[in-house]
Symmetry: C2
Subunit: 258 residues, 2 copies
């Protein structure tokens, strides 16, 4: 056992998890050769790990393509049920999304991304890129991401600004670290983040902090197309709804340690 000297895990299992993570991007199917390139593992190793995923029912193979099966949802459901998302989170998002006439998503920090953990979309909501529970979005160009950073210790924020790739998603994407730092600080100060067209062209997003949730920090957000929310009244209305939703999500026992 070479990779950790003190607490020793199982490196083959760790490799297997790396293979599984290749499917997170939402690709319709991947090949073993592609996974070998992505992970840097020998293709015989990848083959054996993929066979295990097929045997365990997590992957199915069509010709050369491997794709995830619904089985992968089962452990995710375990997490959602353990944290009572079906009763304590989803109904709250549903009620406030309807009041908002749009969609509300809830996300937490996951490695260097924001990960959607819950979502409610009303029929009136805009048709987005298709994000779902489990989707991840970048931290720097999104309202949810900036609010997660705004809710983090200062050192985390600085490390994020230093290490995260500055990718241009639209013509409006801000890739200047100093400017981004100022925007995140402003979000921390004013208690919400607003991003206009920096991640999706023509889309304005708002996000507020929920606070501690299931041992981590959560944020909720919404977005609208075709509006910049320069209008204080409309922005205030939406923020009021988001803030009340956040308060409902915190609940009396939400921040109690478990």
């Amino acid at each position: 056992m070479s990779d950790t000297d003190e607490k020793k895990g199982a490196s083959t299992f760790a490799k297997g998890l790396r293979v599984l993570e290749c499917f997170e991007g939402g690709a319709r199917g991947l090949t073993m050769a592609g996974i070998s390139k992505t992970t840097g593992m020998d293709r015989a190793t990848v083959r054996r790990l993929c066979l295990t995923l097929v045997e365990s029912g997590y992957l199915a193979q069509s010709g050369h393509e491997l794709h995830l099966t619904p089985r992968i949802l089962a452990p995710a459901g375990g997490y959602l049920m353990a944290n009572d998302f079906g009763r304590a989170i989803q109904p709250v998002l549903t009620a406030f999304a309807q009041e908002l006439g749009g969609e509300i998503s809830m996300a937490v920090r996951d490695r260097d991304r924001a990960l959607y953990v819950a979502q409610s979309v009303t029929p009136g909501a805009r048709l987005s890129i298709g994000f779902v529970v489990g989707s991840s979005i970048p931290l720097l160009p999104t309202a949810i991401g900036r609010m997660l950073l705004a809710s983090s210790p200062h050192a985390d924020r600085e490390r994020a600004l230093r290490r995260l790739p500055h990718i241009r998603y639209t013509d409006a994407t801000d890739t200047d670290p100093a400017s981004l730092d100022a925007k995140i600080s402003a979000a921390a100060d004013q208690g919400y983040a607003v991003v206009r067209g920096e991640f999706e062209a023509g889309v304005t997003a708002l996000a507020v902090a929920v606070g501690n949730h299931a041992h981590t920090t959560a944020v909720i957000g919404t977005s609208v197309a075709g509006a910049t929310l320069e209008d204080d009244a409309e922005r205030a209305r939406m923020l009021d709804i988001l803030r009340r939703a956040a308060r409902s999500l915190r609940g009396p026992d939400r921040s109690a340690p478990r």
Copy 2:
């Protein structure tokens, strides 16, 4: 490599997946000792596998308790995005759930259970046990489960009736194999399943088949509390909505091979 002779996977990875699956039931936390008992693995083995899950970010440890982290949602999101749930499935369920004034869930067969793959709950819907995407329900005492069996080859149905545990969930649960077989056949004949209080006391559930979806068979269903739907008109109304939803979910390319 002893467990398979022809196609050889990675047995350590397979064990690790078994450990991960212990968290599917939605328990708030599990101990290594508990996992060792559940899986039959030596506790040193379990310890190493759990350490790997912690190191990889899938588990967090609080005292003796291990619990899943949101990271477990990421591969699930990959599946949902690969199959366009956010744009092709969720908006359809949302629209029809609103028309129904309740909730609609979509499920597929996963091992010996029905697994929720999508769901929409309107504010007016009854507060259920808290099922979410990723939750699983038994096949025999539920409308969704019976409709999945009704949509399966006859041999699968017979095998299910023979091998699945006949558990009594309520006073009304039917545990007689012959009677269950007749109910599943009736569901196949009439194109829908109805279950009254056999899984949740006082709750009536309806389910219809979607047909082929992402290489598997899917079903959608709904449930109401405090009504038995003996009234033909109300049952017909709900079935009409479910059938139209199923048709929308099939779409022009839903059953096309990929």
